[in-house]
């Protein structure tokens, strides 16, 4: 690998990653933000390649861009009024200062620390090593991950599924909670929920 090419790749990918990340924050449109997020993901994948972690890079693109970012786009497109701007917030400046401090601390630590394991050099064929670990010492975490995904899947379906019997119960429970007025009563004195700002 030529030295120039490596530096060129590193700096342009870093610019893509950081620039994308910055634009996510600056962008006031959620769709634009997700597109910048995708660019940032691609930049990170490229950086993984420069660290000769090519399996990780491909999985990063496959999972983060191909699945997660698309899922986010879907969620935004299918949610009513979700493409609107972010609202102004008074907490903006304190948050900015706090994040600045956090980033400064992170950079300081990253530069000052002696990262011992980094000196051990690149690993050869990662797909093989990862695969062997997953059926050997790390078989249990792998299985836990599988159980976790099963639980999440089962739960997501249970929560999102709309049964035909739900609607009457829904209305009844809302009346019971005091959110909806009783059929003959008045709506005015219904107490507001804890999340109700109005």
């Amino acid at each position: 690998m030529s030295d120039v090419g490596f530096h060129l790749a590193f700096w342009s990918l870093s610019a893509l990653t950081i620039g994308g990340a910055l634009m996510i924050i600056v962008s006031r449109n959620l769709i634009h933000a997700v597109i910048f997020l995708i660019l940032s993901f691609i930049g990170v994948a490229g950086l993984f390649i420069t660290l000769s972690a090519d399996f990780l890079a491909l999985v990063q693109i496959l999972v983060y861009v191909g699945a997660i970012a698309v899922l986010m786009l879907f969620a935004i497109l299918l949610t009513p009024r979700a493409a609107r701007d972010n609202e102004e917030s008074l907490m903006r400046y304190p948050a900015m200062i706090l994040m600045g401090l956090v980033i400064a601390a992170g950079v300081f630590v990253a530069l000052e620390t002696d990262w011992g394991p980094m000196r051990e050099g690149a690993i050869g064929t990662q797909a093989k090593i990862i695969g062997e670990s997953l059926i050997n010492q790390y078989v249990l975490p792998f299985e836990i991950g599988a159980v976790m995904l099963t639980a999440a899947l089962v739960g997501a379906i249970a929560l999102a599924r709309q049964d035909d019997e739900d609607l009457p119960i829904h209305t009844a429970s809302l009346i019971e909670e005091g959110v909806l007025p009783p059929p003959d009563g008045d709506a005015a004195d219904a107490p507001a929920g804890p999340g109700d700002d109005s």
Binding site: G5, I31, L58, G66, L73, A127, H170, V179
Partner: protein, 400 residues
Amino acid sequence: MPDAIVLSEFAGIGMPDWVDALIRLVFIVALMTLNTLALIYLERKVLARFQARVGPTRTGPVGILQSAADALKLLTKEDVRPHSADRWVFELAVFFVFVPVFLMFIPIPFTETWFIRDLELGFLYVFAVLGLNIVGVIMAGWGSDNKYALLGGIRAAAQAISYELPMLLAAAGVVMIAAGHLLDAGLVGGALNLNTIVDQQRTTPYILLQPLGFVIFMIGALAEMHRPPFDMPVAESEVVGGYFVEYSGIRWSMFFLAEYTGLFLMVMLGSTVFLGGWNFPFGADAGLGWQIVLTLAKASAMIFVLFWLRAMFPRLRIDQLMAFSWKVLLPFALLQVLANGIILAYGGPDWVVGLVSLALLVSLVALIYVLVRAKAGGDSIHLEPARPRLVTSTEVASGD
């Protein structure tokens, strides 16, 4: 395996690796433009024969210049952008669709020595880059500020992510077998390398060992590339042309270029992985000419099958399409992986793998037949569209 021919050897000038790769990629792009023109012409001709017509005849001898004329027309058309479209998303969407398709050609071996780069994880790479395509489609759909475009974009993305899973699992089945063969040969790793996969198919193409995998792969390829009968995202009668309805002129033709190139890529991948690419049946000794002819012949045969399918089947409904992927293809693909794992773990011979896969394929076809029969008989199978839900519970709760 011999190294790739380096272009600098031809030209007699030294150049860095990446310049070499870039030149090859540009070569592919140029070739694919011509390929697209040819494919469009052939598709029209083939479809016409299926429908007892003659197809284009006027432009040039037997209409052979029809595509060129269309291309010229498109290039000279006005490039319109809707006033209310999101400018950057609208214009960049084209590239998000266009660029990944060409990047996918990098690891594809045309012959033993003709490929752009020999990637260790080439197979995984193709699928990873395939995912980028979806983003472009959604961008096009959303950026056009047109409800049909948006519907088309969402349909395309839903379809693509649904069919990517069975495709990946079908690929995993092949990779498992390739890894087994490599282990037998005393090698470890490399089963995700497309060149190695082709190398393994000297005597037995993997379609014989994984017929179910091949079928799932082809169905997935149809869906990924929005080919009929899976063309709901671009269905004129439903979403007036889908996510590129607002595009015109050169941008529209870039979408088309991406679509046909993607089609060609998918059949190249299929012929490489399942049909033995350049290696079956003559092997590496046959010489470059035979190898390229074999590869392209296999790819052409598959493309002909795809055209045939287009002429044969009516379009599915979107919920049937999703149900087919999640409830039929995905379980069968998982079964295939499971069966391969069990057989290979106990050292079963190749013919057992092939037979089990064939049995699974037969049961898949039988299941589809039963489902279709049940539908035709008026029995309710669960392919009805879901009841629309427009009001969320919180909206009811807040009372507005």
